[in-house]
Symmetry: C2
Subunit: 224 residues, 2 copies
């Protein structure tokens, strides 16, 4: 556990908290370490959640498969990111999606309920963590709205443009890598992979962008 404290320090959850202080909080947050192999389920739809989980190595996807096998990727959780913040409020209900390791992953989960509900002066940095949590949920909220903006577009091309331009803006460059392969991107945008692949190539042929694997480049005169 100790060796991951430097990673924890970089997370939104522990922003503004020193490594020593994180170390001191671990027991009071009942921190537990778990490991998952690629493809393993961290959590399944319908389960109840009372812990926040931070990824320290690997990557998780929040996703859901419907009856017909269509997968929808709601979110990806990379190193230093977390999930479960939105479910620590009482009566949050069951989670709506599966959480799956898309690579071999290590996570640390925390029982943060006690520091939310009891007086925040129990530990000196509790109130800081509570505020961090609030900001983190807020940010995830804005991310979800942004994602809604992508998939509420009518056509595959519009969805791609919406997503890719935002990613370029976020990474502050017309050249950037995306954290998905083709199938995952299709699942993220809720479209068919082959249709999307087709559309991407059309866009490339029209001079809007170039790409190789997961590296994209938006061309001036095209999308930027």
């Amino acid at each position: 556990m100790k060796k991951y404290i430097s990673i924890l320090k970089t997370t939104k959850l522990f922003a503004g908290v020193s490594e020593d202080e994180i170390g001191a909080m671990l027991s009071c947050l009942d921190a537990r370490l778990h490991e998952y192999k690629k493809g393993e389920y961290v959590l399944r739809q319908g389960e109840h959640l009372n812990r926040i989980t931070v990824v320290v190595t690997g990557e998780l996807h929040v996703q859901r498969d419907d009856y017909w096998g269509n997968r929808a990727i709601v979110n990806r959780i990379g190193v230093g990111e977390m999930f479960g913040e939105a479910y620590i409020a009482p009566e949050s209900g069951a989670i709506l999606n599966d959480v799956v390791a898309v690579e071999d992953s290590t996570v640390i989960c925390f029982d943060v309920r006690r520091i939310i509900t009891v007086c925040s002066s129990a530990c000196r940095f509790h109130s800081m963590v509570v505020q961090n949590l609030f900001f983190a949920v807020s940010e995830k909220n804005r991310t979800l709205v942004q994602k809604l903006g992508h998939i509420s577009r009518r056509t595959t091309r519009e969805k791609l443009i919406s997503y890719l331009s935002e990613e370029a803006k976020r990474q502050n460059s017309p050249s950037f890598a995306i954290p998905f392969n083709r199938q995952q991107l299709a699942d993220f945008l809720s479209v068919d992979r082959s249709a999307m692949s087709n559309e991407l190539c059309k866009m490339r042929d029209e001079g809007l962008l170039t790409f190789e694997k997961n590296q994209f480049h938006l061309l001036s005169g095209g999308l930027v």
Copy 2:
């Protein structure tokens, strides 16, 4: 302002706070009342937000129109509900959507930043409000994920089924009213109105449900 305190008391923001205490907090939260006519913009995409707004009469839509006139309704804010919670964190950026009054509406907005960032003991109920805010953002988060679940479905029918079943579950009855007319529902689900209308009638003819105006009834053997 005073006359709306009874409504404020029912909101998620002031849960657990008495009317007297709300009254005392109004000035410290710099509460301001605003009125909007049906169709008026409360906020436009690109603006920056630093206040939380609670609806006390009427109804707002959080929505966005694209270049071609396609409208996407992200959320509706009814009486007692609020918006802006996710933007009080510093560096939240500009809001991504418009907020529009779909009926004549009255809102009260608050400057909650000070109670988030400064020590929460300034007022006795500040910490309660902070916690309420956190829970509210969490709940909105879960709602957004649920909405993502609807519109990530591939076909109009699946989107309708996803939305209507959830609404039945939420209202705890196979018979329920929805807060949208047809055009609004189509914008909410990001589909074409006429195509959706068509699909609804097909579903009715197939015996899955009945409806009249915004009143729906899911039939056993059909969707329930």
